[in-house]
Every structure is written in structure tokens, then in C-alpha cells.
Amino acid sequence: MSKMLAIRLMRLVVTVIVVSFVTFVGTNVLPGDPVNALIPIDAQQDREFVEQIREEWGLNDPMVVRYGRWLGDAVQGDLGRSLVTGQPVTDEITHRLPITFELMAVAVGFSLLIAVPLGAFTGYREGRRSDRLISGLAQAGLSLPVFVTGLILIYVFALRLHWFPAVGWNRLSDGLGPNLKSVALPALSLAITEIAVYTRVLRSDMIATLKENYILSARAKGLTDRFILFRHGLRPSLLTLVTVVGLNIGFLIGGSLVIEYLFAIPGLGKRLFSAIQQRDFMMVQAITVLITVFYVIVNTATDLVYMVVDPRIRRTN
């Protein structure tokens, strides 16, 4: 187990280096001079001034040197300064990361809370009316793009019913109530697709599991249906779900980008958007690396969850 974690850690380091280097190269070979982000348009014709800024920001050094410098700083927690605001990137990220993180955590947590019982139930009632109804709804939820869900939710719950704010964000420090109110609609917009996916995945595994012989022998013991469903049926049906959740959290980063934009949430996704538009390469670089790290962590977490779910894996490790 600790050996596995050590291997994972090594892999994380290698992945981060590769990804950050590729991003670094990528942002540098793209058309557009990063120095333009630093200087007002009218000053861009002033060759001498431009050269001075280039020198100041180290933009004239060879790419490898610059990358090395960036990496050296990054290891110490300094991700450079934003080319647009001049502020330390690290500060901005520590400010924004919790917002995106909360959004995603609430979305995933909420969708699992709904999808696990729903998937188990529809699998158990396969082909019955309740199953057909719920599965039909899930199919519909699956075909809705995130921003459409978001718009519908804003219209109904914010503009019509005034239950939640339409846009903006209240930090946890502003109080739990307001915070939860502002996370509700964006998280729900993300969760609806997730619920649909997870319900379907769990349902089909559940159907397969319930055909297993050990379910029949559990029945023959006179155990109740509920006990059989959750004690014998659920665990063996969770493995695909765990895989899919792990993968989907990756996709969710893309989804939260759209949602942060739509709900005007000051999270990382929104910042990545503007950073790309403004050619704020330092920011793009930092956020990309962060997403990579997050990806690898989610992957490792997925493997740990496998162990929790399946005692056979635990035993052999």
C-alpha cells in the first residue's frame, strides 16, 4: 500500500514535469508575443521600452532556461507573476482554488447521494414502470448540455422563484447559508448530467449482479430484499461506478469552466478563460499544472477507493 503510494508519487512528479514542459513550450510557440500582455498597446511601438521589459521579465533567455527557472520557483511554491495583473499567481490560485473545489465536491457528492440509491433501485426493479420512468429521465438528463441545464435552473429557481441567487459567489467566510445558496444552482447544473451517468452505470451493473448465484443463495437464506440489495448487491456493483466517477471528475473540470462562466463565479475555471484570452501565460501554465496534479490525485484516490470497495484487492496488496 505505501509502496503503491510511493510509485504514485513518482509518477505524479514525472507527469507534472512533462505536462508543465509541454504547456510551457506550447504557450511559447503560439503566435503572439507574451510581452504584449504586459505593455499597453500605445507603448508597444516603443522598441527600447519593449526590450527593457523583455529583459526585466527574462523573456529573452532561451526557453529551456526560462522553463528551468519557472520549475525551480514552482517547487518552492512560487508560480510566478501574472503577466496581466502583476500579482503573484500563487496568491490568486489559493484564493480561487477553494471555490472551484467546493463547486466540484458539492456536485460530485450530491450526484452520488442521488445516483447510488437510484441506480440500485432501478436495477432491482429492472423493466418495471418505476425503472422505465427513472431511466427515461436519466436518458433525458444525459442529453442536456451543462449550460442549458444551468440556464434552465437560473430561470426557474433564481429569476422565477427567487430561491437562489442567479449569479455570483458568497465565500464560506460569509456564512454557511449564503455560501450554500450560491453553490446550489451551479453544483446542481453540473450534477444533473452526473446523476444521469452514474445512475445508468450502477443500474446496469446492479442488474448483472442480481443475476449472480450468491444473490439467489442469499434469497434462499430468507434475507430481506433490502438487505440483499445493499449488503450483497451494491458492493460488487460499485467497481464500474468508481471508475466512471474517477474519469468524470476529470471531465467535470471542463464542465465547471463553463458553469463558472455562466454563473459568474470567481473560480479557477473562469480565470483560465480570461488568462487564455489575455495571453497570460504564467497563469495558464500554473492552472494547467494544477489540473494535472488534480487529475493524478483523483486517479490515485480512485485506486484507493477500489480497495475500500473490494476486499479482495485489499487482501492481495
Partner: protein, 385 residues
């Protein structure tokens, strides 16, 4: 040959005379409705069983043994299934009980052991738990008491070092050990009726004998009634009191197990006997397999279902399905127009031999082989251990 009307089967063995009837199955039919048509898996089975006795149900794969056992238990046959007839357990018709009432009998009064110990235990649940949960479902015991009882049960079914094995997962145990766990669980609430559906088919031969001996011992000690389902007559030889031979969803012969072996009436039973593995044969001698395949249950032949494979088949067999009738007074019954050992049977055999009927020729050949190796046909010489 007199056609008997009484639907039940009473054994003559002396020790059974005092026993009360625990199970009476009457005219049980079970059909699956499939896209290609109605599949009649069980077609009018009747028998009765006295408390404390053991019954073997024998037949090839697909003959409806498992469906029969599950129909009696009302266990999970799916939504496209229709069962009719009745199965009286202690006087109550199981087929008319609600699911709730049935669940109270499952595992307490009636228990079942399944064929494949690899798949009949949940691979993700510790074996001890799988016994304990059974106890706790039906008995008002706390965790510690349940664990102690589970340990006692595991010891009783001879699992060595049960104390340390109780927290193992199924895949950490051998097939035989797992089947012992299943047996322990089945016995947990002291059922009065135990179905064992091919409990040893998935195990190798030595383990098979141990498990069968264990089951027989438990059955006798607990005065439990047991139904042993198998495709191998050798498994029940010398073990069960009575035998019921099934073919294509019907009972074709029933009698005390001794009678089945000594006074075989039905050609199908005879064929099954020829296919019992024999220890005196060289280990790789192919078994005298029964010519042909069992009929597809959606498209049964007219007349006797065994007619396409029977070495004694006559025109009458294609026209009329022989009824199950008593032979003599011993409760022996058989469903055949030309029962084994009768003159009519011998004449039919000669006739088919001269007509060079393939299955008849195959039987004649294997008889020759047996004669030259000095083994009387139709008697198992291994099997009974």
C-alpha cells in the same frame, strides 16, 4: 400392468413407515414463456416425502431438476414463468403462500445448497459473515452469540482452524471448503427440509465423497429431510433412501434407491446406469454415453419423450406417452411401454437390432464390452464409497 390412481409415492422401507409426510408435490408444472415458444421445464411431477428421509432426483442436464427444486421453493424463477400444481410442506401449499410468508420459511424450514461453491458465496463478504447474517436474520441473537454459533457450525462441517478461517474471503478457500461453508450456512437455522442441487458437481472426486458423506451424516444426525439433485446416479447410490428419475420434465421412474438399481424398469434409468463412471475401467475409457441429446424443451417429440434415443423404441412409443404406473406393490413406478426385463422389452430389442437402429447397436456394443471385461451391465461398481 395396472394403472394406479394414487398420486403419492410411499416407500416400503421399514424405518420409514412411522414417519409423517413432510412434502407432497402434486402435478407440478413449470413453464417458461420464451420468444420461441413455451418451454415446459417441469411437466406434471408428483411425489411425496416422509420426514427424515432422503430423496435423490436424477436426470441429465436440462431435465428440469433445478427448476423442479426451485419451483417447490418458489425461488426466483423470473417474470416469464408460470407454475401450477401444488407443493404441500407440512400441510401448507407453498405455491399459494405470499412472498412474505415464503421468506419466513426460506433458510429456516427449507434450505438450499447450490451447485457451484465458487459462485454461491458472495466473493466480497467474509465467510463468517455469510453464516452470521443468516443466523441474525431469523434468530434473536446478538453479534457475539451469532459468531459463536457460526464457529460451532464451521467446526461441525469440519472446517479445520475455523477460528482463523472465519474472517477469510471465499476466494481464499478451496472449492470443498467453500461448499462446507455453504452447508454450514444452510444448516444454520436447523431446517427440516434441505435441497442440495448438485452440491458436488463442481468438485473433484475425493472432495465429492467427503462432501456427500458430510451431507448424509448431517441429514441422519439432524433427522432432516433431504432432496439431493444430481445428474450422476453414482452420487445417490447407497446414500439416499428413494430415487426419482427425471427426463424432459417428467418423472420416468421412481422407487427406493435399492430397487432402482436392482430392478431397473425404465430404459432411461438403465442408460443412466451405464454412464456411471466405473473405477475398474481404465481411467480414460469413455463412458457409455447415452446416444443423442435430450429433447429441446420447447419442441418435445410426440409420444414418449425418450423415444428418439431409446434402444427399445416401438411404433407405439411415438404415438402415446406412457403414463407413470405402479409396478408390483412396492411403490415402484415407471413410465414405459416396454419396461426393462419384460419379454416385450427383449422382443423390442431384437427387432431394433435387426433393423440396425443406431442407439440399439450402441447398447449391444457396450454390452459386449462389459461381458468381455466381466462386469455385469447396469451395476455400478465404483461410486458407492
Amino acid at each position: 400392468m395396472a394403472v394406479s390412481e394414487e398420486p403419492t409415492y410411499t416407500s416400503t422401507s421399514s424405518e420409514s413407515m412411522g414417519g409423517s409426510e413432510i412434502l407432497r408435490v402434486e402435478d407440478l408444472h413449470t413453464s417458461f414463456f420464451l420468444p420461441i415458444g413455451e418451454l415446459q421445464a417441469v411437466r406434471g411431477v408428483s411425489f411425496s416425502l416422509k420426514r427424515g428421509r432422503s430423496l435423490g432426483i436424477v436426470g441429465e442436464s436440462g431435465s428440469g431438476k433445478s427448476v423442479l427444486a426451485r419451483s417447490i421453493m418458489c425461488l426466483n424463477l423470473g417474470s416469464n414463468v408460470k407454475t401450477s400444481g401444488s407443493a404441500f410442506f407440512d400441510g401448507r401449499d407453498l405455491l399459494s403462500l405470499s412472498r412474505r410468508e415464503m421468506r419466513r420459511l426460506w433458510g429456516t424450514e427449507i434450505a438450499m445448497i447450490f451447485q457451484d461453491p465458487m459462485t454461491s458465496l458472495n466473493p466480497m463478504v467474509k465467510i463468517g459473515r455469510q453464516v452470521i447474517e443468516h443466523l441474525r436474520q431469523h434468530k434473536n441473537v446478538n453479534r457475539r452469540e451469532a459468531k459463536q454459533t457460526a464457529l460451532d457450525l464451521l467446526n461441525e462441517v469440519r472446517i479445520p482452524e475455523a477460528e482463523s478461517r472465519i474472517d477469510r474471503l471465499p476466494h481464499e478457500l478451496s472449492g470443498g471448503m467453500r461448499q462446507r461453508v455453504s452447508i454450514a450456512s444452510a444448516l444454520a437455522c436447523e431446517p427440516s427440509l434441505l435441497f442440495a442441487d448438485e452440491p458436488t458437481t463442481a468438485l473433484d472426486v475425493t472432495v465429492q465423497h467427503q462432501i456427500l458423506n458430510l451431507l448424509s451424516r448431517e441429514q441422519r444426525q439432524r433427522n432432516m429431510t433431504m432432496v439431493m439433485v444430481t445428474h450422476d446416479l453414482g452420487v445417490i447410490a447407497g446414500r439416499t433412501d428413494d430415487t426419482l428419475v427425471m427426463y424432459a420434465g417428467k418423472v420416468v421412474e421412481q422407487a427406493s434407491t435399492d430397487e432402482i438399481f436392482e430392478k431397473t424398469q425404465h430404459p432411461y434409468t438403465e442408460a443412466l446406469m451405464r454412464s456411471i463412471p466405473r473405477t475398474t475401467h481404465a481411467s480414460h475409457t469413455p463412458l457409455a454415453a447415452i446416444t443423442g441429446r435430450p429433447p429441446v424443451a420447447t419442441h418435445l417429440p410426440a409420444g414418449c419423450a425418450f423415444s428418439p434415443r431409446c434402444p427399445y423404441v416401438q411404433p407405439k412409443c411415438h404415438e402415446e406417452d406412457p403414463p407413470l404406473v405402479s409396478i408390483g406393490t412396492s411403490g415402484h413406478k415407471s413410465a414405459c411401454w416396454y419396461p426393462v426385463g419384460s419379454d416385450a422389452n427383449r422382443e423390442a430389442f431384437e427387432r431394433n437390432l435387426s433393423d440396425r437402429l443406431p442407439q440399439t447397436l450402441a447398447v449391444a456394443e457396450s454390452l459386449d464390452a462389459d461381458q468381455s471385461s466381466g462386469i455385469p451391465a447396469g451395476l455400478p461398481d465404483g461410486g458407492i464409497a
